[in-house]
């Protein structure tokens, strides 16, 4: 249950909740690009990532995201972290002016850079996670699909079925909780028949999962058939022009937030692309060179 609640929409009334979904998607993409802009040295990249991290944590606090489920989500990625660390530390990267950390048998050297790199990549992953968490937990799934449909609208010129795809996404999102409930119900029913989902060897586990998956699929197919019948009975036609019950509106606060975030992103992109990032920062903030 806890792992499932990660990223679920939580109904609060914060500034971020009230922003237009289209604006939030735009800003999300901009911020993602910003996070992925590299700097000339690992240390600068790390410092910037930590800066982003602090800002995103503040944003998460403002938008009432659950820090507990966020950190649980990170903890569940421990395997990925381990894999990254091992990979980056033990695969030599001699092209850089690396500082050796330790040498095995005077032939195999591991470098500090490997650790920086692993930490940097993991930090970026966390940043991406917190960004998407802010988006999905402050935006109703339906609004998100409307926003996606709005962005896909120009593709209609080349006969791209943007409405159908948006409808598919919104139906899929709508049925996630329903199917989860169904899965819980079937699990309980099978547990009553002696299935143990948590223990047992591989063969028993596979059998247990089969006893869950097959009934789940059967009922999901039933449900989709019923849904399509019900939609047709109410005259649904994907090709006809439809009106909207809920409309997305671009407010002044959307403009303000975009005007704050987009210049920052642009500035950081400029720093990164110009590759003289350090000089500018030193001159801007009069930072003493201490590295």
């Amino acid at each position: 249950m806890d792992s499932i609640s990660f990223g679920r929409y939580v109904n609060y009334d914060s500034f971020i909740h009230r922003l237009d979904a289209r604006n939030k998607i735009l800003l999300l993409i901009a911020l993602m690009i910003m996070i992925f802009m590299p700097f000339s040295t690992w240390s600068t990249s790390l410092i910037f990532s930590l800066l982003y991290f602090i800002i995103l944590m503040i944003l998460m606090g403002v938008s009432h995201c659950s820090f507990k489920s966020f950190f649980k989500g990170i903890l569940s990625m421990w395997f990925l972290l381990l894999f990254l660390i091992i990979m980056f530390i033990f695969i030599p990267n001699p092209s850089l002016s690396s500082v050796p950390l330790y040498t095995f048998n005077e032939s195999y050297t591991i470098y500090w850079d490997g650790i920086y790199q692993a930490a940097y990549i993991f930090l970026r992953l966390i940043l991406m996670m917190s960004l998407t968490l802010i988006l999905t937990s402050t935006t109703k799934p339906l609004d998100l699909t409307y926003a996606l449909e709005w962005y896909m609208y120009p593709l209609n010129i080349i006969n791209f079925p943007s409405h159908t795809i948006a409808m598919m996404i919104s139906i899929a999102l709508r049925f996630i909780p329903t199917i989860l409930d169904e899965a819980k119900r079937i699990m309980k029913a099978q547990e009553s028949r002696g299935v143990d989902f948590s223990r047992g060897g591989l063969f028993k586990k596979v059998k247990a999962i089969i006893s869950l998956i097959i009934p789940l699929f059967v009922s999901a197919f039933d449900r989709s058939q019923q849904l399509s019948d019900a939609m047709e009975a109410r005259g649904y036609d994907p090709n006809s022009k439809r009106s909207r019950y809920r409309k997305l509106k671009f407010h002044l606060k959307d403009l303000i937030s975009a005007l704050i975030i987009l210049p920052i992103v642009a500035f950081i992109m400029y720093l990164s692309i110009a590759q003289n990032d350090l000089d500018i920062i030193y001159t801007l903030f009069k930072v003493e060179v201490g590295f």
Binding site: K188, A189, E191, S192, R193, G194, I214, S219
Partner: protein, 287 residues
């Protein structure tokens, strides 16, 4: 196997924004060989109660004691839940959704096999359970997915019966069945109750069924048991006010009373009693 439940409390989604108290200190006792019913509005906590009886849910507070099995809020101490599930069989609402094997007999034998019973023995138990629910040999090798709704439900119920539980818990066993299917299923449970001396715990919205089959009724409201006793006493005590749906025979008596015909409801337990009383009235009237 007697059941003792003391101060049972259950909280859904504890320590989250969705926290909700489902049960608020439930106490009850069920004897051996009893046929009891839990009734109450949707969301009153009936299903939550029965899910504690075979350890699907762990109490947030209080204890559930089934024979020598004791369930408390300490998950580590609740061992033997697996064994408990062999003694307490739960048939969920719409149990036909739990079918998954290729043939009917294999699906029914799936439960016993989970309790380390050999395949041959499990199949013998499965055949017996299928015959008990009124499905003959011609069904054994068919796919459960090609059966009708009522037949599927009987296969699913056989899947629990094949475990040979001492206590059979039924959550809305007749939901979505027609009148005939309803009678077939309920008389099946009554037969099991009378012949095999199993305790039956029924959860139902169908007050006619509860009145007809249950010996004792627990009324659940807002996570608490607010009344219990014989069906007749319970329904008569609710006759005056509309908190609880009442069986048709009592509703009929109430309508008769509004029309000025006051029958002695205390003597009415089933439809035959009702007919007798009306018959008596007609004879008196005819002199």
């Amino acid at each position: 196997m007697p059941i003792d439940v003391t101060n049972l409390t259950y909280i859904y989604f504890k320590k989250t924004p969705f926290q909700a108290d489902a049960l608020k200190g439930v106490n009850f006792h069920i004897d051996d060989n009893d046929f009891v019913a839990f009734i109450g509005a949707t969301g009153s906590g009936k299903s939550t109660i029965i899910q504690h009886l075979n350890g699907l849910l762990t109490p947030s507070d209080g204890t559930v004691k089934v024979d020598e099995f004791l369930l408390t809020n300490n998950k580590k101490k609740n061992k033997n839940i697996g064994k408990l599930r062999k003694h307490v069989g739960v048939v969920f609402q719409f149990p036909e959704y739990q079918l998954f094997e290729e043939t009917v007999e294999e699906d029914v034998a799936f439960g016993p096999k989970n309790f380390n019973i050999s395949k041959e023995e499990a199949l013998i138990k499965a055949h017996k359970a299928l015959l008990d629910v009124g499905l003959n040999e011609s069904y054994f090798l068919r796919s459960p997915f090609e059966l009708s709704g009522g037949e599927k439900r009987r296969v699913a119920i056989a899947g629990i019966l094949a475990l040979e539980p001492d206590i059979l818990v039924l959550d809305e066993p007749t939901a979505g069945l027609d009148n005939e299917g309803r009678d077939v299923i309920m008389s099946l449970f009554e037969k099991i109750h009378l012949e095999q001396h199993k305790t039956i715990i029924l959860v139902s919205h169908d007050m006619d069924l509860v009145n007809k089959y249950a010996k004792k009724v627990f009324v659940v409201d807002d996570g608490k048991i607010v009344a219990y006793g014989k069906p007749k006493d319970i329904f008569l005590s609710y006759l005056g006010h509309g908190d609880l749906e009442i069986p048709q025979i009592y509703a009929f008596c109430r309508l008769l009373k509004e029309k000025g015909i006051d029958l002695d409801v205390n003597k009415i337990e089933n439809i035959d009693d009702l007919i007798d009383q009306i018959d008596e009235r007609i004879q008196i009237k005819n002199g």
